[in-house]
């Protein structure tokens, strides 16, 4: 269980998350959504233990995250930053191997497993500068998986990907949360695209101005009235469950809600 309790976070002298409480369970995909500047990335940093609480707390299985040794925390929580630039033109395998840093071991088996899980074996010797956007996203996720964390926290991992690559990366994240064998990991992703959250998340946290304005299964947390409150636009969902699309437009109030 990764839980925020009355959490407040400060960044650059400004309170960006205010009095937020949420308890996340492993084996589920939780999406954090909200308009720009809502505090999504800050919340993710807070949950990862990378931004110390100004007040309140984040706990991992009952232990205060801020009191854990950084390396112990790193063994449990993997964090995938948004589109990081890779400073050195290393080979895929060496980059994935960085994921073992919290363990200070070679971790050959875990690195192999991560390469296999993300279909990267044919690319293992390729320099990262020669990867496509989709391959790069998979390599960065494989780096996190190589650390065998119990939690995977990813900041907009799908943002720069085309449709097919978005779906394939989501499939990989789902495999982490609901593996065929082995322990289920907890997956928390910041998403920009509400359709992806609606169709693929088990639970959605909707943020606005540092507060939670909705928290629940996607069809409830992303109801049109929540979208109106959060983003200030009228919208409705079309399509079948699991394949819904958001229609946004200035329609009259009574046409809302479908």
């Amino acid at each position: 269980m990764l839980a925020a309790d009355n959490l407040a976070l400060m960044r650059g002298g400004r309170e960006v998350v205010t009095g937020l409480s949420a308890a996340l369970k492993p084996g589920t995909i939780t999406a954090i959504v909200g308009p720009n500047g809502a505090g999504k990335s800050s919340l993710l940093l807070g949950l990862a233990g990378l931004l110390a609480p100004a007040s309140g707390s984040v706990t991992l299985d009952g232990e205060i995250l801020a009191r854990l040794h950084p390396r112990v925390r790193a063994q449990s929580i993997g964090y995938l930053p948004q589109a990081p630039d890779i400073a050195w033109d290393v080979a895929v395998e060496a980059l994935v191997a960085l994921g073992r840093l919290p363990w200070r071991d070679r971790g050959t088996a875990a690195i192999e497993a991560a390469l296999v899980a993300l279909d990267l074996e044919p690319l293992r010797h390729r320099p990262v500068s020669q990867l496509s956007g989709g391959e790069r996203a998979r390599v960065l996720l494989a780096r996190v998986l190589a650390g065998e964390p119990r939690w995977i926290l990813a900041d907009e991992p799908l943002a720069a990907l085309d449709l097919a690559h978005q779906l394939s990366l989501i499939a990989h994240l789902k495999a982490c949360a609901r593996p065929e064998n082995g322990a289920a990991q907890g997956v928390v992703v910041v998403l920009h695209d509400l359709g992806l959250a609606m169709n693929h998340a088990d639970r959605v946290l909707v943020m606005k101005d540092g507060h939670l304005i909705a928290d629940g299964p996607p069809n409830i947390a992303l109801a049109p009235q929540v979208i109106a409150q959060g983003w200030g636009v009228r919208a409705r969902w079309l399509g079948d469950p699991g394949a819904q699309a958001l229609i946004v437009g200035e329609e009259p109030e009574q046409a809302d809600g479908g």
């Binding site: 002298g13 931004l51 993997g78 960085l98």
Partner: protein
């Protein structure tokens, strides 16, 4: 030991005997025997070679660590401002030379230079404490802010050095200061080796401790912290490691530029390009470069010996330009 270390260790093993034989007086291997030859070898060339290896190794390792820390292939250990601070300390020793008892005179310059380097490290540590706690609070800055602080320190030390030079007590002191600032290894003895070698070895060991943390920075500061790297500890290791290697080098040889910048680039193609794989081979390659350059300036047929610092800058500056061009083409 990786492939790059092996390559440069072999190269160094070839260069050392060559360098011992080269100089104003060439020594043929057959001439080994008692008398002047042995004296030249043991008291002039051997300490000079050991010193070149020490300084080159320190600068090479410091450069590799610095480029890893700043995630930038154009970074130089000079960016921390430690070398200019050491030079300032050394220049100050010229000023106080009259006040220093004669018994201490040979030690005053290196010790003052080390004191300058130490002062620089202390100032950096103060600034670092601020920036890393800001970063943990999400205020940003972090490494970038810290680098700017290092640049500030470097330009302040440079200005004070220039001031000390313009206000030099007499023309003789002036020319001595200017000559000394252009680093050289002429007429060095085992005394300088005794000062520089232990400090440099300690510095390289400290930088080696930071190696894996530098690897983590490949994906940025936040990713590194998420992998359990403590920014404050990493910065402390780096300031101490670079302070020891660069400070010791300046204390015995003056300012020798560009080695720290150039050497990691020579080494990188032989490694997996992560900072941890660069530190030891860069130390070996730096030793090769300085030893070779010092042997060349020794045999050049000039009226006075070309200063090593000048020679390396003459090679280094065009190389830097070439790096910039390559970067523009996106091949770095």
């Amino acid at each position: 030991m990786n492939r790059a270390s092996l390559i440069f260790a072999v190269l160094l093993a070839v260069l050392v005997p060559l360098s011992l034989l080269a100089g104003r007086v060439w020594i043929a291997p057959a001439d080994f025997g008692p008398g002047n030859t042995l004296l030249i070898l043991a008291e002039l060339r051997l300490p000079r070679a050991v010193l070149a290896i020490t300084i080159g190794a320190g600068l090479g390792a410091a450069g590799a660590a610095m480029q890893g820390y700043l995630r930038n292939p154009l970074a130089d250990p000079g960016l921390f401002g430690i070398a200019p601070m050491a030079a300032l300390g050394a220049v100050a020793s010229f000023w106080f030379s009259a006040a220093i008892p004669p018994a201490w005179a040979p030690w005053s310059l290196p010790l003052m230079a080390l004191a300058g380097a130490g002062l620089g490290m202390a100032l950096l540590a103060l600034i670092a404490g601020r920036t890393s706690s800001d970063a943990a609070g999400g205020a940003g800055g972090g490494i970038a802010l810290f680098t700017l602080a290092g640049l500030m320190l470097a330009s302040l030390a440079g200005a004070l050095t220039a001031l000390a030079i313009t206000l030099a007590p007499n023309p003789f002191a002036l020319s001595e200061i200017v000559m000394w600032l252009n680093g050289a290894l002429t007429d060095r003895s085992w005394r300088e080796v005794a000062i520089a070698a232990p400090l440099t070895a300690a510095g390289i060991a400290v930088l080696a401790l930071a190696a894996r943390s530098l690897d983590a920075l490949t994906l940025g500061e936040e990713a590194a912290r998420s992998m359990g790297i403590e920014p404050r500890r990493l910065l402390a290791l780096l300031v101490v490691g670079i302070g020891l290697t660069v400070g010791a080098g300046v204390a015995v040889a003056g300012i020798i530029g560009f080695v720290g910048l150039v050497v990691p680039h020579l080494v990188r193609p032989f490694t997996n390009r992560l900072p941890s794989s660069l530190i030891l081979p860069s130390a070996l390659a730096g030793a090769c470069l300085v030893l070779a350059a010092d042997s060349v300036v020794r045999v050049l047929p000039l009226v006075t010996e070309l200063r090593l610092g000048i020679a390396l800058s003459l090679i280094g500056a065009p190389f830097f330009g070439w790096l910039l061009l390559r970067m523009r083409q996106g091949r770095l």
